[in-house]
Subunit: 697 residues, 2 copies
Amino acid sequence: MLSSLFNPDSVAVIGASRKKGKVGNAVLSNLVKDFRGNIYPVNPGEEMIEGLTCYASILDVADEVDLAVVVVPAKVVPPTLEECGKAGVKYVVVISAGFKEAGIEGAKLERRSLEICKEYRIHMVGPNCLGIMDPVAGLNASFAASMAYEGNIAMMSQSGAICTSTLDWAEANGMGFSKFVSLGNKADLGENEFLAEFRDDPSTSVIAAYLEGIKNGSQFIEIARDVSRKKPVVLVKSGRTAAGSRAVSSHTGTLAGSDQAYNAAFDKAGVIRADTLEDMLDYIRAFSTQPIPSGRRIAILTNAGGLGILTADACYYEGLELASLSGETIEGLREFLPDAASFYNPVDVLGDASAKLYGDALEIVLKDPNVDGVILLTSPQAMTDVTSIARIVIQKMENSDKPVLCSFVGGTRVMEGNSILVAGGVPNYTFPERAVASMGALCDYGERRSLTYPLPKPVHSDRKMASALLDEAAAKDKKILGLESFDLLKAYGIPVVETGKASTVEEAVEESERIGYPVVMKVLSPDISHKTDVGGIRLSLMNKDDVRRAYHTMMSDVGRYMPSARITGVQLQRMIEGGREVIIGMNRDVQFGPLLMFGLGGTYVEVLKDVSFRLAPLNEKDAHSMISSIRSYPLLTGVRGEKAYDVDAVADVLVRVSRLVEDFPQVLEFEINPLMVLPEDEGCFAMDMRLTLKESN
Amino acid sequence: MLSSLFNPDSVAVIGASRKKGKVGNAVLSNLVKDFRGNIYPVNPGEEMIEGLTCYASILDVADEVDLAVVVVPAKVVPPTLEECGKAGVKYVVVISAGFKEAGIEGAKLERRSLEICKEYRIHMVGPNCLGIMDPVAGLNASFAASMAYEGNIAMMSQSGAICTSTLDWAEANGMGFSKFVSLGNKADLGENEFLAEFRDDPSTSVIAAYLEGIKNGSQFIEIARDVSRKKPVVLVKSGRTAAGSRAVSSHTGTLAGSDQAYNAAFDKAGVIRADTLEDMLDYIRAFSTQPIPSGRRIAILTNAGGLGILTADACYYEGLELASLSGETIEGLREFLPDAASFYNPVDVLGDASAKLYGDALEIVLKDPNVDGVILLTSPQAMTDVTSIARIVIQKMENSDKPVLCSFVGGTRVMEGNSILVAGGVPNYTFPERAVASMGALCDYGERRSLTYPLPKPVHSDRKMASALLDEAAAKDKKILGLESFDLLKAYGIPVVETGKASTVEEAVEESERIGYPVVMKVLSPDISHKTDVGGIRLSLMNKDDVRRAYHTMMSDVGRYMPSARITGVQLQRMIEGGREVIIGMNRDVQFGPLLMFGLGGTYVEVLKDVSFRLAPLNEKDAHSMISSIRSYPLLTGVRGEKAYDVDAVADVLVRVSRLVEDFPQVLEFEINPLMVLPEDEGCFAMDMRLTLKESN
């Protein structure tokens, strides 16, 4: 789709300059250095720049221009884009700053620019960006210091400075790119368009991104999920915290969603979230060179016991398994390793091991069917021939389909070995834990890639009834609905506890008879919030007499404790025993829509914050994983010989709530609290609910 | 104490060799290169090595020898040490391998070597080590590739290869050392002796260590706590996990304590535990050059918004506070920064900032009384003069007593700036999160250093009675004591619930009258473990009649459910209501002694593993911090308007338990479960206990 953005036949630089140090000069020089198509500098004040004829306007260029790089002042950008439109330009990269990031005036300019682009069907990168690169096509349409090396990593970044830092780091560390995009303010083209582009780009095998926000959340999930099945997507999303988010808003004015929602979104999309830029660079080095392992069983090969222990520790924390080497492997190692070596995992070839010994050990370990990947450690000890070890690692890897990550731990004496490894396509990390974390990312991706995402089964619902109920509330300007709106749950097949209302003692008896005993009676009053404190709750009423007595004593108790309270009657509810309380909640995230929450009731949520989040829509698998991912999950499955609760029924309610809140975007917040879960096969019942409606506009 | 180890007048190399590549040659060459005192090669087969007269035996050296470096085969080490003893040598560094790490025979050789050392009052480093260095004194008594740079960091490592890797890394990264010790098998001198030595060494200001185990746990805590008050101690302790620990035992045969106990020990000692070697190197770079901040309020200064956000995120996770800049600072920044800059924290000087602008901003931010430390970020953008920024940072720091850590994020284009910073004594980290973590370590140390460690108040106890009780159990070969031994708790002033035993109905009534109502009755039988299941528990007995009825029905119920059970009678206990159950436990750690555990009862411990650990002895502050560090602590202090419980009483019990288990080393495990805590000022009561005694030998 964006092929003539990255591989245009002709490029114009509008605002080209002859002055060294000017962005308009840097962009042009970069293009001249590598680009093989036609280049048209545009600047009304110049005749020639860098040996090229300069044009007063893009309209003066006779040739068709595929891509225009715009480096004129912000104010001049809209008319410039207009000219581009008239000249039939298909893509523009607006490097100029002074737009949304600069305040209200800038935001207006940005909106105007976007309108013009839409009118002329131009696609725009930026504004306020460093530019773009396609090292494969030889296009450097940026003011970066130099062209990136060619490689198979497509990277995009919402921060121009992080582009610069990454490119500089990559140059020093031999990392190459297939595409490099500075997203800037993402007025038009954003992460979603580039994700789709990178997915279909044959020169790209890994996608990396630094993002501060996401433009269209649900589209992002859809695209990223599809892309992730084909290529790993590793991203850093900054502004994770309140502190960080403040910096985001002053930086690019992006409306940041909550970090919980982002995590849920990345999880749903199968995207690998890196916590730091360093992690991202570590992971993509592994992805760009190594095969994806088929399991998490890792072998460690080392010439230093201490490094082996540190690596084993790190594997444990990363959730990687130390492979149990097969008997054959152990016997094989015994044949040529010295007696003092360790033949078990970590395999310690000892400090004086030759490169040949290392190579033989690596070969045999890679062949072990119990091993899914290898981490190879080297300390540059007295007898250690680091460069030969590097060479032999590369040689042994050629015939293997398992990933090998190296950690040659040192400085000066491992430098050459490091260069050999990098040139040979084996990532080397200065410290073992970084190799372990990267191996973890490979394994995670291996697992995610093979996941399927079945659509939720359809939920049978009486949507019309639900809609009428919500419309009625809106008409009455009612913003908060409570358990008097249980019909909404019923409409979606969510079981609710039998409930009734009465304003006389005889009504109370009648309702109780209908509900069935035992019942609970609660006073209804707009003035009473703590019912227990005023004697406003009666439990375990077993028959008519109990109900009558309860009604009379409650009225007199409440009247005595709170003579001023207006009493509208009592609520009657079937009393449910032997269950466990859970909470199902929903908050509508601005970026990603309904974010569902699950947790055990009471202190588990309130004190221990032991909850899980998922984005709608939920299928049953999602619902089950949501339930099982809280720490207190064992309390639902039966701990210490206690009974197990009906987790399937809870999962079913989660799926139905997901459907309900998706059907009605006017529902801002939603909570069933508590949902009483009975023992296995006995179901669950909503005991109370609370729902907040959007202000109608 | 060890001064003539590190700064000897004369050194012998026993096992010196003329063959390049041999350890005996490497050690001698290293000495010859830098050492200014006398060097005596010892090797019966040579006359001259490296231009020095070679001796057949150390006994032939006429001069007094302070230090002998031993590189002969393991078998020859004991006679060699014997000769050293006779020659009056004070210190030996045994580089030779083939000792404890090599198996039973080696372990014998090691024990023999140690005996000889003790006999002749020789102190030994190693065996199985790389050697030692004192770059300040010009001593390189090791077979390392080269001498370390001089600096103020004293480092010791239990792994020779990690010495090698660290030295090589340090050389490439301009890190210098005051002392460098490869500990090897630590047969004689270990971490405790060197900690004490480094504390008193005027050239050392930071201490770093890589350890796989600790030899004398309680001595370590005592020494490290004292050292930590004067100089930061940063250490990596590997073998943290089950997987890692296996690797440890095959590596050096160290008996590793549990990681929980190590954490508790490091905490008690005020030592900073680094999770990885990389973290350790990061932290010590900061400690070796920067002042300790007086608070956690950090200012971020950046030329790149994206880096600022990432750093703010990291500060949040690290528990650092983003400083609120004073009005004066903000006004000051406004005076010279461009309008588009950010004057709030993170302060963004913008991508085209000059070095002067950076410097002026740094100066003003450092002066802000709301700022305790600064993290300065630089992305090498088009206009960025990285080297000038590095120079100006060093200049501005000179007049400040606040730490500044830099992160120049890039590769090639930040290299020179990095070198300038390092040479100028400002740590630079390739990625901002590493600067943040290091700042966190500085802040943590600042807080720990000022902590006081009051001794526990004396506990009034009837130690004689407790001793008699335990002796009696031992005499009867009783290994497990239950609540029948409540007298032990009473002897230490720990309140226990009134409890009695009865084997007839009338005894039951009598006991109940003594205890006071309500009481709980439980069947006593060696055959019944689940009392509830057989009707063996009766709650809320309010008077004599209740007790009689309960006794009779219990006997008949239990008889019916479990006719074969031998019933020895019933237990009667005062029923305590309105309390919350907590658990106090103790396990005796092999390295560090009594490790106390605290948690809320039931699922909080069993399912959520929400517990805290501390090593005895506990003072009241320790006990309170132990209680408040569990996640579910709010449940004790009153959440959602609930009452607060008597935390002071629990703390008091913790202190008493600590005293009790310290007084009686024969107590291997100990648990009060549950301890019932009543509302504030109402105390707490042990409801049950369990104690395991050591096998007597």
